[in-house]
């Protein structure tokens, strides 16, 4: 529990610092990026987009590595029953 609380808060804090640093690029106005005029804060959404795709795909593919064995067995037998039907 302590490990989890510290880790989650630390990473949330790091996220806030990274976001603040990224959004301070180019000051308060807009700047040109890939042919568009954008505010720096928009870069954080692009970062989130890339990271979410990566995290999501990894979790969808490697879900067995994070799931308890009895849950894996239950889900696989559910899948087998569905295929048999």
């Amino acid at each position: 529990m302590s490990f989890n609380t510290i880790g989650c808060n630390l990473f949330a804090f790091l996220g806030m610092i990274t976001g603040t640093l990224v959004s301070s690029i180019g000051g308060e106005g807009t700047f040109s990026f890939l042919g568009r005029e954008i505010y720096a804060v928009q870069l954080t959404t692009m970062m989130r987009c890339i990271c979410l795709v990566t995290l999501g795909l990894w979790m969808a593919i490697a879900w067995r590595k994070l799931t308890p064995d009895d849950d894996i067995e239950r889900i696989e037998s559910l899948g087998r029953r569905r295929t048999a039907r």
Partner: protein, 367 residues
């Protein structure tokens, strides 16, 4: 038919006849009361409260960092909590202390300190003392109430679902009601008075919440050998699946906070969206929660907690690209993207709620 099924399902989980059912009922009602008082002491009311005392946007940012820094004290939590087999009253006492500092002390302090810089300093000191001390005890609540979580997968999903739905609906109604009330007296001295009255009301609700939690049974905790600080950081590495779940949670917290706070500032100031549009779309979250929670529940049952979280991540990602492309006047695109995000968030929140417990080694749960 639907209501009968719903009644049966709720009754099965929250039956007060067994200590576990009673514990779950207390978890639910306590969560609802917490959702109620959190409306008055967080979010827009908290920002309103700070700006009442001339705290600048940078000051608000500094105050936002405090909980994250103070949470490092939870490192000492296992050593302190491990000393007590009966810790219920200590935990509840620490909760009252936290909210007394967070609500009462910060509300009363500006009566004695008038300089805005001095007020900011005192806000930081009081909040640090509140969060720092509470960080030592608050992990104990999870260990205490974890005993009431249903062991069976399906029942556990329903338990998380109902907790989320009931709290969300209540919090949404409260936000709507109190926002209308506050907007009705906008610009007058009554608005400030109302924000202060809400804060005192919140403290009374905290006492009610503590009273409810006090009724929950406390089971003996697993005997753990005296924990050394370094073990908090070494024990989890012995459990591979648990560590992978932790990595997901940590990374998720990082991503979630990348534009926390500054994004609303961007919508309001750079894109010129109105408060009304932002709040109305925000409240749609509860509607989507009610409409889609059943679908997410079925996905979890079929694909596992982890895979469902992954699916929600992949579905969420394109909306971030839409957010990146927003320009002034794109309220419609923003509203559509936000609603897709709200639908995905139902899946995220439902799955995230159990990721910590998926592989949690019970014998080392305080570490």
């Amino acid at each position: 038919m639907f209501w009968n099924r719903m009644k049966q399902s709720v009754g099965e989980i929250y039956s007060p006849r067994t200590p576990e059912g009673k514990g779950r009922l207390i978890t639910l009602t306590s969560g609802m009361v917490a959702a109620f008082y959190n409306v008055f002491i967080t979010g827009i009311f908290y920002t309103g409260f700070l700006s009442m005392y001339d705290i600048s946007i940078t000051g608000v940012g500094i105050v936002t960092f405090i909980p994250y820094i103070a949470s490092c004290f939870s490192l000492f939590s296992p050593r302190i909590l491990g000393r007590y087999q009966k810790r219920k009253w200590i935990l509840l006492g620490s909760k009252i202390y936290f909210y007394a500092m967070y609500i009462l002390a910060t509300t009363l302090m500006p009566l004695f300190v008038t300089d805005p810089d001095q007020r900011l300093l005192w806000f930081v000191i009081l909040l640090f003392l509140a969060y720092g001390v509470y960080a030592l005890f608050s992990p104990g609540f999870t260990t205490w109430f974890y005993n009431f979580y249903p062991a069976e997968n399906d029942k556990r999903t329903r338990f998380f679902k109902y907790n989320q739905v009931f709290s969300s609906v209540l919090s949404c109604l409260m936000l709507l009601g109190s926002s209308i009330l506050t907007d009705a007296v906008e610009g007058s001295a009554m608005q400030d008075q109302l924000i202060l009255i809400f804060r005192y009301l919140a403290f009374l609700l905290v006492l009610l919440d503590v009273g409810l939690q006090a009724m929950a049974k406390e089971y003996p905790y697993a005997e753990v050998p005296k924990l050394q600080f370094k073990k908090v950081f070494t024990i989890p590495f012995g459990y591979r699946k648990f560590m992978l779940c932790m990595a997901v949670m940590f990374f998720w917290n990082y991503l979630n906070n990348l534009n926390n706070g500054i994004w609303n500032f961007h919508l309001l100031n750079n894109l010129g969206f109105s408060y009304t549009v932002i709040n109305v779309v925000g409240m749609m979250g509860t509607v989507w929660l009610l409409c889609t929670v059943g679908i997410w529940q079925r996905l979890i049952h079929r694909f596992s907690w982890i895979k469902t979280f992954g699916i929600a991540c992949v579905a969420f990602a394109p909306t971030e690209f839409l957010m990146y492309s927003l320009t002034p006047g794109d309220e419609g695109v923003w509203a559509a993207a936000s609603m897709i995000q709200q639908i995905c968030s139902v899946g995220f929140n439902l799955a995230y709620a159990n990721i910590l417990y998926l592989n949690l080694p019970k014998e080392e749960s305080t570490a």
